[in-house]
């Protein structure tokens, strides 16, 4: 499915006027206001902001230490003392979810800073130079895209061994191709633009043109794509955690919390319900945000 979304972007490339270059500060503020006018996008913004605050202020927000076990109060239902109840080791679930937001952000952040530059580089180089460079890069992307991303990530984690860092690498390995394809498609439309041709005539080097002109023009659509991708990253990370291949105990990763809570699910619904809701909410927020950004940056793709 992922590749189809990319294709869709490729069919309707973004125009370079999408408000990033001139008067950055003011334009950004204006765009942000516009973004918040749509109630759905605004709620996305709010949830992401809350997530950031939770992660940064976790020690002040959490009511308990997320790792300390208290075998005398295992599996207690949500109450005033434990808002979301406790797990099978008596650890406070609310606090674990709060700290878990750090794990989630850590994964999103790492994957994005790996995938963004790599995708951008491969895509722009391939689109700008064309020819055999393009063929080679695109065949490699094709191969990666031929596998469903979860299956590929699973295979990679199985190959690398379980663990948070490995999960990040596996997810990054599976999510760069759509980004590269998008960057390539964008580059191909900009390559012939007056703006770039003028720079070429002035004798700018290929590297300069790529990084100073084309990469910047690709950014808006790339940001939309990466934001939407964050939602997928959260779900994939949770799925890996669920299968026991992601974050390892005692890290309070939400997917892993569901996975262990599963054995207690019938009596203690809170073990599974809250982390699941957290995953859903955050993933939804990134989707809403990405959707809103797309409307904003590229109204034609509706």
């Amino acid at each position: 499915m992922k590749n189809q979304q990319t294709l869709r972007h490729a069919d309707f490339p973004l125009s370079p006027r999408a408000g990033v270059m001139p008067g950055k500060g003011a334009a950004f503020l204006k765009s942000f206001r516009k973004l918040c006018r749509n109630p759905l996008s605004a709620s996305g913004v709010v949830i992401v902001a809350v997530l950031l605050i939770l992660a940064m202020a976790a020690p002040w927000i959490a009511t308990h230490d997320p790792l300390v076990q208290d075998l005398s109060r295992v599996l207690s239902a949500p109450s005033a003392a434990h808002w979301f109840g406790t797990d099978e080791y008596g650890r406070d679930i609310f606090s674990r979810i709060v700290y878990g937001s750090r794990v989630t952000l850590y994964i999103i952040f790492l994957v994005t800073i790996i995938v963004g530059p790599i995708g951008l580089l491969i895509g722009t180089v391939s689109g700008y130079f064309g020819g055999w460079v393009d063929s080679v890069f695109m065949r490699i992307t094709d191969i990666f895209i031929s596998f469903p991303s979860l299956v590929l990530a699973l295979a990679f984690v199985a190959a690398l061994g379980p663990g948070l860092e490995h999960a990040v690498i596996a997810i990054a390995l599976t999510s760069w191709p759509p980004v590269a394809r998008l960057a390539r498609a964008e580059t191909m439309t900009f390559r012939k633009s007056d703006y770039v041709v003028a720079a070429q005539l002035q004798g700018a080097s290929a590297a300069r043109i790529l990084f100073h002109y084309i990469a910047i023009m690709c950014l808006p659509s790339l940001i939309v794509r990466l934001t939407m991708n964050m939602a997928t990253v959260i779900l994939t990370a949770a799925a890996l955690g669920f299968l026991g291949l992601g974050a390892q105990p005692p890290l309070p990763e939400w997917g892993a919390m569901i996975s262990t809570g599963r054995s207690y699910m019938l009596e203690s619904w809170w073990l599974v319900a809250f982390p699941g809701a957290a995953i859903m909410l955050v993933s939804l927020a990134f989707n809403l945000l990405g959707d809103g950004l797309r409307d904003l940056l590229d109204p034609r793709t509706e």
Binding site: Q69, P162, Q248, P249, P250, S263
Partner: protein, 533 residues
């Protein structure tokens, strides 16, 4: 439109009535278990308790151990046996009325061939025999046919005859195969191994009907069984990984027997009147093992600190119920040789003092490997937090059995939470040889089947005592030797700390009678009956 509506209502009605009738048929026994360990049905290659269970119903052994008192030996295919005066051989007389499922008569030749096959194939279960001194080379001289229904098993060296008898009764490699039938399916000199992976050629109370790997095993009763004919017509074993699903299904009566349910689910069934929760002690031990190849852990004081810091009571009270019971000795509970529990425990200060004495006042960083399933991972998490109290910062590396025990076999681990040590037979040696014996501690020796070698712990006196005891036929002398092994091990702070002895828990529906879980995992279903609710 109105017609459509009526149809829909009809369908819904059918749907709901279908959901009401869910009880299992009375002539079928439906068993749910995890089948991920059932890879090959070949008795020479089959590892794990689950296959022993399946094969115990498809095949027969020469002798059987009593379910309630495993030291009592019952005749099965062999009606009689006699130990030679010098205790160097046993002769067996077989029943002459046994037919394999194929119709071939069972003779002593089949028995001799079956044992030879295990050693010649040299697959997983040859290990048991090799530990006793049988080899691919000497088996033909040692195991010989002496008559149509008579054979002799001579010992390669001085051995306690009980050990051989117990092996014949409890090892999943001791099943007797139909030589003609198997050899008819031989493929490139494989002794029929490939065919037996998915087929069976035995004389057991049930005949293998359908086997879809990782999905189901269906067995039909053997009408020509030499013993009492089974009552149940059909046994259906289903692969079910989800404990919760097992629980819901057995509560509903959709299942007759549930094997391998997780503790929270078993607990929730404690008060269900129509269900019986059977717990049976198995000889296998749960342990925390440390690697002597790690310089820090090789320090006796560090080991002593760790051994005393493990929260034995907490683990056994909150994690182990239905998985195991408190036990700290390397010899299983209930044997005359087993010493009383040493009750290891240290206060945080004592343990910290030991650590400081060893030169680690601020602790150190290490790793704990554990299976990614209950109770291993839970114990690892508990151990992690206990070790933190004495300054040891341990990272948990969880994985599949392959990853965890693979690392242990390669001596690439620091601390491991594991389970092992055989213990099928009611004999101390069935624990001590796998757990403590380590004849050659060099890396090149690769004695991967010995957990002693894996941990790198070697005590020559213990090696001597174990070897001496195996050759000793006098019980009192033997028990004294085993007692000494345990005291030395305690004093020396060996690298493997047992904390619990395995319990197998099976939930049986009230409509089922006569299901007795076997301590050696050889649960036989031939006497099971079902009553109509």
């Amino acid at each position: 439109m109105a017609l459509l509506k009526r149809c829909l209502i009809g369908l819904l009605g059918l749907w709901l009535t279908a959901s009401a009738s869910a009880n299992t048929p009375s002539d079928q026994l439906i068993i749910a278990l995890k089948m991920s360990n059932i890879l090959s049905l070949d008795p020479a290659a089959a590892t794990g308790n689950d296959i022993a269970f399946v094969n115990a119903n498809l095949y027969d052994t020469l002798i059987e151990l009593d379910v309630a008192d495993p030291t009592v030996i019952h005749p099965a295919l062999a009606t009689d046996w006699e130990v030679a005066d010098d205790s160097m051989a046993i002769t067996f007389t077989l029943r002459d009325d046994v037919e394999f499922h194929s119709g071939n008569p069972l003779t002593a030749a089949d028995v001799v061939w079956s044992i030879e096959r295990v050693l010649d194939l040299n697959l997983a279960l040859a290990t048991t025999w090799k530990a006793l001194g049988f080899t691919r080379e000497n088996v033909a001289q040692l195991v010989t046919q002496t008559g149509e229904h008579e054979l002799e098993i001579a010992f390669p060296r001085q051995l306690d005859p009980k050990l051989v008898m117990y092996t014949l009764a409890t090892s999943p490699s001791a099943f007797i195969l139909d030589q003609q039938e198997v050899m008819a399916h031989e493929h490139e000199g494989d002794w029929g191994n490939r065919w037996l992976t998915t087929n069976a050629a035995g004389s057991g109370a049930f005949v293998l009907g359908q086997w879809i790997p990782q999905d189901r095993i269906v067995m039909a009763k053997n009408d020509r069984y030499w013993g009492e004919t089974p009552v149940i017509e059909r046994v259906v074993m289903r692969n079910l990984k989800e404990s919760q699903t097992m629980r819901l299904m057995i509560e509903r009566g959709d299942l007759d027997v549930a094997i391998g349910m997780s503790v929270p689910d078993i607990r929730s069934l404690e008060n269900a009147e129509q269900l019986e929760i059977q717990t049976t002690q198995r000889g296998t031990l749960y342990y925390v093992a440390v690697s002597m190849n790690n310089d820090i852990l090789a320090d006796e004081r560090v080991r002593r600190a760790i051994r005393g810091t493990i929260n034995y009571a907490g683990i056994n009270d909150s994690i182990m119920p239905y998985y195991g019971i408190f036990h700290q000795r390397p010899v299983k509970l209930g044997l005359p040789a087993t010493l009383p529990e040493p009750m290891y425990s240290l206060t945080t200060e004592e343990a910290r003092a030991l650590m400081a004495e060893a030169g680690y006042p601020n602790g150190f960083t290490t790793t704990i490997r554990a299976l990614n399933e209950s109770p291993f991972i839970n114990v690892a998490i508990n151990l992690q937090s206990s070790l933190e109290r004495i300054g040891i910062n341990a990272e948990i590396l969880s994985g599949t059995g392959n990853q965890v025990y693979g690392a242990m076999r390669d001596r690439r681990f620091d601390i491991i939470v594991g389970r092992g040590g055989g213990g099928f037979a009611p004999h101390p040696d069935s624990n001590l040889t796998p757990l403590l014996l380590n004849p050659d501690n060099s890396d090149e020796a690769r004695l991967t089947n010995f957990q002693g070698w894996r941990t790198g712990y070697q005590n020559t006196r213990i090696n001597e005592l174990i070897t001496e005891a195996v050759a000793e036929a006098d019980s009192d002398v033997q028990n004294a030797l085993y007692a000494e092994v345990q005291s030395i091990y305690e004093e020396d702070v060996g690298a493997l700390f047992p904390f619990s002895q395995m319990i197998n828990t099976v939930v049986v529906g009230g409509q089922v009678e006569g299901y007795r879980d076997d301590p050696s995992a050889m649960t036989r279903l031939r006497s099971v009956t079902k009553t109509r609710e």
